[in-house]
């Protein structure tokens, strides 16, 4: 048992820190910290900077331009990025589709798509959820019917994150309506500019546009865009969701969030004393920090198991639940710390660029962030679904 990083791991961490120091601009850091909406260009810029350094695809094999980092290195990288207020790398091509193509796609599909993911030429989005298929994803109804060398796709996807920036979407579609729900699903790659594809924005409760609805009306998709075998898409989807869950604990985001709350509470005065010294507030803060300290170690334990080649089981569901609950609690503390200055709505565009913020600098975005991050316990398999997974594995459904 040794809780410390090895000298090699420490050297790697320093290398990452140095890179972040010289690459991340203050402007981008401020936007990430302040919940300012990153533009498409901001996200593409960060993508390109990582690609130039060769650090864009931590899990990919070197053959395809990846880093082949082990789980500990990936963990260090993710945590340092979060602590430095780096933007999240848009994951749909890199950590979702890429691994699926490498495992189940053809050589041609890999050669065609993987380099375009790295170069940023292709921006992928995810077509999984539907209005009637959320937690019960296998009930999805978007239909793909084979006609000659094409599929004709009809249906609707929803919660498509950053779909308005994407030129391609990977979709789960139903190819055999008579099979059991999980057995009639296929994994299809679709160009967003195909005739019959329509995208509409969904505005979230904090006024932001990050998710969309995508409609398919007799969209023609060439059969070579099928990944793997027809009707085996559920297997690939499960493989992809497993990849989606690495880094799900969000330890770095939580540490960055706690640092912000502490900064706010040091400046905020409560009865003539910094709020940070108020026993009630301090107790709330300590409670979250204690939870986070333990969760960070749980995360590292699972990460080192993964580094040793053991696939995480229910542990990733546990990390998803605990990680999101902690992050949401930190968002709640930030909202409390802001006091009355949580009330103003920081509507970009209404305020001139040179206008100073209303109230303390950190306070502006905290309420919007609190509301926006309610999504953490909903998306990527809701926390209820994660509990189902844990219970099913450990209790076998109680039967």
């Amino acid at each position: 048992m040794d809780l410390n990083y090895t000298p090699e791991e420490l050297a790697f961490r320093d290398e990452v820190r140095a890179f972040l120091d010289e690459t991340l601009t203050d402007d981008i850091r401020a936007k990430v910290r302040g919940h300012g909406q990153l533009t498409k260009a901001d996200m593409e810029g960060w993508h390109a900077a990582l690609n130039a350094r060769g650090w864009l695809a931590p899990t990919w094999p070197k053959e395809w331009g990846g880093c082949e980092w082990n789980a500990v290195q990936r963990h260090i990288f993710e945590e340092e990025c979060a602590m430095a207020d780096a933007p999240r790398v848009v994951p749909f091509g890199l950590t979702m589709l890429g691994p699926v193509l490498m495992k189940y796609g053809t050589r041609e599909q890999c050669e065609r798509y993987l380099p375009r993911i790295l170069s940023g030429e292709d921006w992928w989005c995810q077509g999984y959820s539907e209005p009637g298929a959320g937690s019960d994803l296998a009930s999805l109804r978007t239909r793909a019917v084979r006609e000659g060398d094409h599929y004709i796709v009809n249906g609707q996807k929803t919660w498509t994150t950053l779909g308005h920036f994407a030129n391609r979407i990977f979709c789960l579609v139903r190819t055999d309506p008579d099979a059991k729900p999980q057995e009639g699903i296929s994994f299809l790659l679709i160009d967003m500019d195909s005739p019959g594809v329509e995208i509409r924005p969904i505005i979230l409760l904090d006024g932001t546009h990050e998710v969309n609805e995508v409609f398919f009306d007799n969209v023609k998709v060439p059969v070579e865009n099928l990944v793997g075998e027809e009707n085996r898409g559920w297997t690939y989807a499960k493989y992809l969701l497993m990849h989606e869950r690495t880094g799900i604990a969000g330890v770095g985001f939580s540490r960055a969030g706690l640092a912000m709350v502490r900064r706010m509470a040091r400046a905020e005065m409560h009865k003539g004393q910094p709020l940070l010294e108020n026993p009630h507030f301090a107790a709330r803060l300590a409670q979250v920090e204690i939870d986070l300290m333990a969760m960070a170690t749980t995360n590292l334990r699972i990460v080192s198991q993964a580094a040793a080649g053991q696939a995480p089981g229910v542990e990733s569901s546990m990390l998803k639940i605990k990680g999101t609950v902690i992050r949401q609690e930190i968002n709640d503390l930030a909202r409390r710390a802001a006091g009355p200055y949580a009330l103003p709505f920081p509507s970009e565009g209404l305020e001139g660029v040179n206008e100073p913020p209303i109230g303390p600098e950190d306070a502006g975005p905290v309420a919007a962030q609190y509301f926006n991050n309610r999504k953490l316990s909903i998306f990527g398999g809701s926390n209820e679904i994660q509990r189902n997974i844990i219970a099913k594995v450990k209790l076998g459904g109680g039967r």
Partner: protein, 377 residues
């Protein structure tokens, strides 16, 4: 012991509920929130004509109610419909202070308030005061027959619409001295007064108010010099009853939306409300809702108690509703899933009203501390 509303209050409740369900649907509210004024003049005067503002004042003040339960009935209904118009600021705070402290000339404004022709705003809290009532750094200095006001006021709700601001300022004492605070009626066009307006995340508008040597006549003072705090405390107690009742109303709607969703949303071939994991959580929401209802009754029923006991009851209610409200807002969103996060779906608005209520006149923790202090006294 009798927990029934009086006949008059029941009629007021029915009238208001019917009016709001006919005239204040989601589309109307969204249009109001998107408008630059952040409120509807038409809805305001229609509700004034219905007697909604009059219900918040006693007969000697020109109304027909004014007790804690009148406030609770009106604001619970406003909360159920997610009304964003500033009844709390104009009538309970502004009107309440005019009624409590005003001389004959100042009290003449009450008729305009009750008829829906005049807006008011209380400019009391400051950038460094957080939720502390006594902490007033804005100064009032006598110069001959005039008083000069200098300072800054934070998040003054309804400031831009107000025909008069009621500004608290210190005439003597240290910055957190309970004595020495006076209130002044300040017209919005006064020289040296600037407003920086902005929308609020849960609807309505507020402004940062700066006073740079604003000169008002001594006759603009409300009540006796340096004795404003007791009246402020009472006005804020009434505002807290209003806010607690409004939040209760919003919680009722959030829970009802959740109930309907649990019954209609199907996953895995059955309504999600048939899953026990969700049934138990929904049951907890109902329990907390009844706790919140009782907390509002406790607070409304003690509005005329001696100040310390009154405020202890108020803080108990706000602390409980802060906790129960957070549970209801967060669990309602979670049980809805993604749809509960969208602007388009009504729940978002009610969740914002519930959560952001915790940022006015003290949050859950502030009221817990105050409850402890007042219980020890």
């Amino acid at each position: 012991m009798n927990f029934e509303l009086t006949e008059e209050r029941r009629m007021l409740q029915d009238t208001l509920r019917r009016f709001l369900s006919d005239r204040y649907d989601s589309a109307t509210r969204n249009a109001i929130m998107a408008a630059p004024e952040g409120m509807s003049a038409e809805i305001w005067s229609a509700l004034a004509d219905l007697g909604v503002i009059g219900a918040l004042f006693s007969e000697p003040d020109g109304g027909y109610g004014g007790e804690g339960f009148d406030i609770a009935v009106v604001f619970e209904e406003l909360g159920r419909a997610g009304v964003v118009e500033p009844f709390l600021d104009t009538a309970v705070l502004g009107g309440g202070l005019l009624a409590a402290l005003g001389d004959e000339r100042q009290r003449a404004l009450l008729a305009e308030v009750i008829e829906g022709r005049l807006h008011l705003a209380l400019a009391h809290y400051e950038p460094g005061s957080r939720y502390d009532m006594e902490r007033v750094a804005t100064t009032a200095t006598a110069e001959g027959d005039a008083v000069v006001l200098t300072g800054a006021k934070a998040v003054v709700v309804n400031a831009e619409a107000a025909g008069h601001l009621i500004v608290s300022a210190r005439e003597s004492g240290a910055v957190d001295d309970p004595g020495g605070i006076s209130l002044f009626l300040v017209p919005p066009g006064s020289k040296g007064l600037t407003l920086r307006g902005y929308p609020l995340i849960s609807g309505g508008r507020a402004a940062e108010v700066t006073l740079e040597g604003v000169r008002v006549p001594a006759s603009a003072r409300l009540g006796a010099a340096g004795e404003g705090l007791a009246a402020l405390r009472r006005a804020l107690a009434r505002a807290n009853v209003a806010l607690a009742a409004e939040t209760l109303g919003a919680m009722e709607t959030a829970v009802e939306l959740t109930r309907e969703y649990l019954l209609t949303r199907h996953q895995f071939g059955r309504p999600i409300g048939s899953f026990q994991a969700l049934q138990h959580r929904f049951a907890d929401l109902l329990i907390e809702l009844e706790q919140a209802r009782s907390a509002v009754i406790n607070a409304a029923g003690q509005l005329d108690a001696p100040a310390d006991e009154r405020d202890r009851q108020i803080s108990a209610a706000r602390n409980l509703i802060g906790r129960a409200g957070r549970l209801v807002a967060e669990e309602s969103i979670q049980m809805h899933g993604g749809i509960g996060m969208t602007q388009e779906y009504d729940l978002a608005h009610f969740a914002r009203r519930i959560i952001m209520a915790d940022h006015r006149f003290g949050d859950t923790d502030w009221h817990l501390e105050r409850f402890i202090e007042l219980s020890a006294a």
